[in-house]
């Protein structure tokens, strides 16, 4: 197949690098790739904000932004300019240095993690042998930045928000990593590119060879995505910035460009973790069907990314916010056991002969605990229609 279109960015990079002096070439190529990644994902951020606002508007049947530009698609530009020219207010009591460093500490890891995401064939910045570990390690840095932001602004709401965020992130990081561990076990490597390669090809019914179409993979994907939602503090897990409870959580005291940075960092984290989900479970940049192979790989990556983002928007528009105890119960009483059992399921799957038996066994090992744990979680709660006192 003619992969000129597929490899267009790679060739472009080589071509540009060719002009640099020999000694500098690796450096230059790295710079170019980094610039490309930053540009692409920053603009994706811009697009996503407006999409999210419009989508939420539709879900809550109102118009989203529709004034600036055609269909309000220039809204992000306007917001950006506004954020840039706004006065940067810093509370007097605030801890100046930390208060200044917090947004950077949020954005930098958010960009760093893209280094190991294969966004297309031969399109990964650094192919670490422990790439996934790198992702999680750097991702862990965000918690600290959240704490910095919340603590430094000397505001009880922001401190509360920070504490909530840290508690939530730590509790959900465990299921996140555990559900990813299944993939590492099966592939036998932590390298993202190897993981993607392992999902190449198609098996019966032309179904792609992705991990999401195995019992453990499916369960793992769902767990991973729930944990990712919590990791990125998105609704229904958006307690840390619950506007109705603690005004905006840990960035009450941020205004202007610092706030914009936080916003950017949050969305970048969202893209990144979705990208990891795609890499681990959704076959990375592989095409879903054999007859679509000709479409360039990077397209597939971004298409899947868009789909996941749409799902996130949808969830945010649909689900109400959890309570703190519900959050913790869900993390420790449901997610964690499910993830652990899922690891065992993956092991069983790995050691059983291919065939329908292992499908049955795997499905049983996923569904049984799900039912038991779910009932255990629901124990002593009776679900009934909520009666509104003042609404109706």
């Amino acid at each position: 197949m003619d992969d000129s279109l597929d490899q267009i960015f790679v060739t472009l990079n080589h071509w540009l690098t060719g002009y640099a002096p020999v000694g500098w070439q690796p450096f230059v190529s790295a710079v170019i790739s980094i610039a490309g990644i930053i540009a692409v994902f920053a603009s994706l951020f811009a697009v996503t904000t407006v999409l999210e606002r419009k989508g939420l508007g539709r879900i809550q049947n109102r118009y989203g932004p529709n004034r600036v530009g055609p269909f309000g698609f220039l809204q992000p530009a306007a917001d950006g300019i506004k954020a840039l020219i706004k006065e940067d207010v810093v509370p007097r009591a605030a801890d100046q240095v930390v208060h200044f460093l917090a947004p950077l500490a949020t954005v930098i890891p958010a960009f760093l993690v893209y280094a190991v995401l294969p966004i297309g064939r031969n399109m990964v910045l650094v192919d670490y042998d422990a790439g996934a570990l790198f992702f999680f390690a750097v991702g862990a840095g965000t918690e600290l930045s959240v704490f910095m932001a919340g603590w430094s602004s000397r505001n009880k709401y922001s401190l509360l928000g920070a504490m909530r965020a840290i508690a939530q992130m730590i509790s959900y990081e465990i299921p996140l990593i555990l559900s990813a561990v299944t993939v590492f076990m099966i592939v036998g490597s932590l390298s993202t590119t190897k993981i993607v390669e392992a999902q190449a090809g198609y098996h019966w019914f032309g179904l792609p060879n992705w991990f999401v179409v195995t019992p453990w993979g499916f369960a793992g994907f769902i767990l991973f995505m729930i944990a990712a939602t919590a990791e990125t503090n998105r609704s229904p897990f958006d307690l840390p910035e619950g506007e109705s409870e603690i005004i905006a959580g840990y960035y009450i005291e941020y205004s202007g460009f610092k706030f914009a940075l936080f916003f950017l960092g949050e969305y970048l984290g969202l893209f990144a973790i979705s990208g990891l989900g795609i890499t681990l479970f959704l076959g990375g940049w592989h095409a879903p069907f054999a007859f679509l192979e000709w479409v360039p790989s990077w397209f597939w990556f971004f298409a899947k990314l868009q789909v996941l983002i749409a799902v996130f928007i949808w969830i945010r528009g649909t689900l109400p916010r959890l309570r703190m105890d519900q959050l913790m119960n869900f993390a420790w009483k449901f997610m964690l056991p499910m993830a652990l059992i899922n690891i065992i399921t993956a092991a069983v799957w790995h050691f059983m002969q291919p065939g329908y038996q292992r499908w049955l066994v795997g499905a049983a090992m996923v569904v049984g605990p799900y039912i038991l744990l779910g009932r255990g979680l629901m124990e002593g709660k009776k679900l009934e229609k909520r009666t509104y006192q003042f609404a109706e």
Binding site: L372, R375, G376, E379, G380
Partner: protein, 696 residues
């Protein structure tokens, strides 16, 4: 190796798995845990049926074993475990799983109101699993492990209502009493291992129950000229005595009635007490090693016969419906032991199987009666229940006839087989004992049935007895069950989940006997291989005799209790009216408990008191003496001290104290000081190290 043999372990493991899972379940998951337990039992039953059919196709004397290495011993040899599939295993498997399943189903109905439903089923499944493990074990060690598991779970189940002190005491009693036997069993096991070098029963010629090692065991003799095989056999039999409640270790069995009735049914019918008999049957080759009637077999026979008559007599005078059944179980177990002793595996096992069915039936019936009469257990306060609970009555009657051994019910054939082989035995006394036992059995069962089901309902008139506070105790059942007043509530028939199982059992209790009639001794062939077929005159005469005995028993029972039914629950038992002291003696179980109380325990107490006395007078006195001497001396010393030594030492002490004070200032409780010292030490050590080993 056929699939079923390789996977025989599934049969016990499944219920254990179910137990583990339902142990994890939250309390609310009643249906789930029950479904889990019953489902696993059913699967085990199907597997057992597979095994059974496999054995059937295998023909006579088929025995397939599967051994595996457990762990390596110090001397490089491997300790092996394994399971065996032969006719004995197959029969027991089918029986236990079938009866167990029915009992499980029954207990969903019986325990439906208990708040610890899930815990109950956890224990129940573990119990059944352990018993199945005992059955399939091909290694005395594995058997012993499961055996102990059975003991443990029986403890848990008998003490299930642990908030009743009586239940807790009964559980403890059962545990400890059986433990006495288990120690003997352990000793026997060790001895066997030391002599035959293996604990596997069958290992193509090398097992400890196979010809070579048996020959070896018989050849060796211990002191007093007893063959080693005899010693080991007796020790193992002691374990069986403990487990299946033979005299003198029978005391725990009746108290085990404190547990929930399904548990009693399970213990008495299928699992626990059967384990003892099964053990003897399993090691029968060892028991009969050397051929003929070996001493150990004689012991077995005598113990069995004595137990049979002994327990039967006690059962005559009991008033607690479950206790009567308990003692009947003890005596039936005696029959089984006797059968093993006189007639070999087939005879004993046949009675074990039939007894399992009708005893389970009887216990379920009793449970249904108790349930229906609002936790009343005193038969003198029941009566007339045949009108209120017809199904229970009908099935119970079947069970009673089977137990009493009325032709052609199952019990008749098996008991008759035992009596017949006892008749042909070296000594005839066991036979007469057995016959008398049969008479008594028929008698007390008749008595019980007349008390419970005939006459009219007496519960509401009459004073409260033990049973009320029992009702209060586990109000879990009664209160929810009958909100209205308990004593005036009419008895009621039990739900279908409870009645259905004993309808099924009733069929078996009736029909099972035809597998082993003298006309067609299929069962004996299947188990033992040899069986004398056909109705020889001796058999005919024996059958006539025993039937006569049975009918005489029933007749006496009717004469005493059925002719004019009891009206008042206070009015004394007719027997009591005739021979009060004998009746009292029987009712108090020959004072066995009291005897133990006053011999062993009393001796223990006396001994400790004696030790105390010794302590107080002899040792303490000596010590006192020494003290006085010492005190006297010390006066002298003091004198010297005061004026000779002190003046010198005080100075030293002062100095020392000062120094100590100075030193103690180092210990100022500050972490960082200590840390500082550590740092310095590190530096010094490093320097020493550098200078110590110079790179040459």
């Amino acid at each position: 190796m056929p699939w079923i043999v390789k996977n025989l372990w599934l049969i016990p493991v499944l219920p254990m798995l179910a137990a583990g899972l339902s142990a994890l379940m939250p309390r609310r998951q009643r249906t789930a845990s029950a479904a889990l337990a019953i489902g696993s039992m059913v699967i085990s039953f199907l597997l057992a049926v597979c095994a059974f059919t496999h054995v059937l196709q295998g023909g006579e004397g088929i025995r397939e074993v599967f051994n595996f290495n457990w762990f390596q011993l110090g001397d490089g040899g491997w300790l092996q475990l394994g399971w065996v599939l032969d006719s004995l295993t197959a029969v027991m498997l089918v029986m236990v799983t079938f009866v167990g399943t029915l009992i499980f189903i029954y207990s969903t109905g019986y325990m439906s109101h208990d708040e610890n439903f899930t815990r109950f089923f956890t224990f129940l499944s573990l119990f059944a699993g352990a018993m199945l493990g005992v059955i399939i074990a091909n290694s005395l060690l594995l058997l012993f492990i499961c055996w102990e598991l059975v003991g443990l779970t029986s403890y848990l189940l008998i003490g299930f209502w642990y908030h009743k002190p009586s239940a807790a005491a009964a559980a403890k009693k059962a545990f400890i009493t059986t433990r006495i036997g288990d120690v003997a069993l352990l000793l026997g096991m060790v001895w066997l291992y030391s002599r035959s070098g293996t604990l596997l029963f069958y290992k193509d010629g090398l097992g400890c129950l196979e010809h070579d090692s048996l020959v070896k065991l018989v050849a060796q003799t211990t002191s007093m000229g007893i063959a080693v095989s005899t010693g080991i056999g007796l020790l193992i039999f002691a374990g069986a005595v403990g487990k299946s409640g033979q005299v003198p270790l029978h005391v725990w069995l009746p108290d085990a009635m404190e547990g929930p009735t399904p548990v009693s049914a399970l213990i008495h019918a299928a699992t626990m007490v059967a384990a003892g008999v099964f053990l003897v049957a399993r090691v029968y080759p060892l028991m009969s090693a050397g051929g003929g009637t070996t001493p150990q077999l004689e012991v077995v026979t005598w113990i069995g016969a004595i137990t049979a008559i002994f327990a039967a007599t006690i059962a005559v005078a009991q008033n607690d419906i479950k206790r009567i059944l308990a003692y009947s179980t003890v005596s039936q177990l005696g029959y089984m032991m006797m059968g093993l002793g006189v007639g070999g595996v087939a005879v004993g096992m046949f009675h074990l199987i039939t007894h399992a069915f009708f005893k389970a039936l009887l216990f379920m019936g009793a449970g249904s009666v108790i349930h229906g009469c609002h936790e009343e257990q005193d038969i003198s306060r029941m009566g007339g229940l045949r009108k209120h609970m017809p199904v229970t009555f009908a099935t119970y009657a079947v069970g009673m006839l089977a137990l009493a051994g009325v032709i052609p019910f199952a019990g008749f054939w098996s008991k008759d087989a035992i009596l017949h082989s006892a008749h042909g035995w070296v000594s005839h006394i066991p036979f007469y004992l057995g016959a008398a036992g049969a008479l008594l059995t028929a008698f007390y069962m008749t008595r019980q049935v007349f008390y419970v089901f005939f006459g009219d309902y007496r519960l509401h008139l009459g004073k409260a007895t033990i049973s009320e506070q029992r009702t209060v105790d586990h109000a879990g059942v009664a209160a929810k069950d009958h909100p209205h007043d308990e004593l005036t509530g009419k008895p009621h028939e039990s739900p279908l989940t409870m009645t259905a199982p004993f309808m099924i059992l009733a069929v078996f209790a009736f029909a099972l006997g035809f597998l082993g009639t003298p006309a067609w001794p299929w069962f004996q062939k299947f188990l033992g291989g040899e069986a004398e077929a056909g109705f020889t005159p001796s058999i005919i005469s024996l059958m006539v005799i025993s039937s006569v005995i049975v009918f005489v028993g029933i007749g006496i029972g009717w004469w005493l209790y059925g002719r004019k039914p009891v009206e008042q629950s206070e009015q004394p038992d007719p027997l009591q009216a005739m021979w009060p002291d004998i009746f009292e003696l029987l009712r108090r179980k020959y004072f066995i408990d009291e005897v133990y109380e006053n011999t062993i325990i009393a001796f223990n107490a006396w001994w400790s008191r004696a030790c105390d006395w010794m302590d107080f007078w002899v040792w303490n006195g000596g010590v006192q003496l020494v003290t006085y001497v010492v005190v006297g001396l010390s006066w002298v010393n003091r004198f010297c001290d005061e004026y000779v030594v002190n003046l010198g030492f005080d100075e030293v002490c002062k100095r020392l104290r000062l120094g100590g004070g100075g030193l103690s200032r180092l210990q100022n409780g500050r972490v960082q000081n200590y840390l500082r010292v550590i740092g310095i030490a590190l530096a010094v050590l490093a320097l020493l190290f550098i200078w110590g080993c110079k790179p040459s």
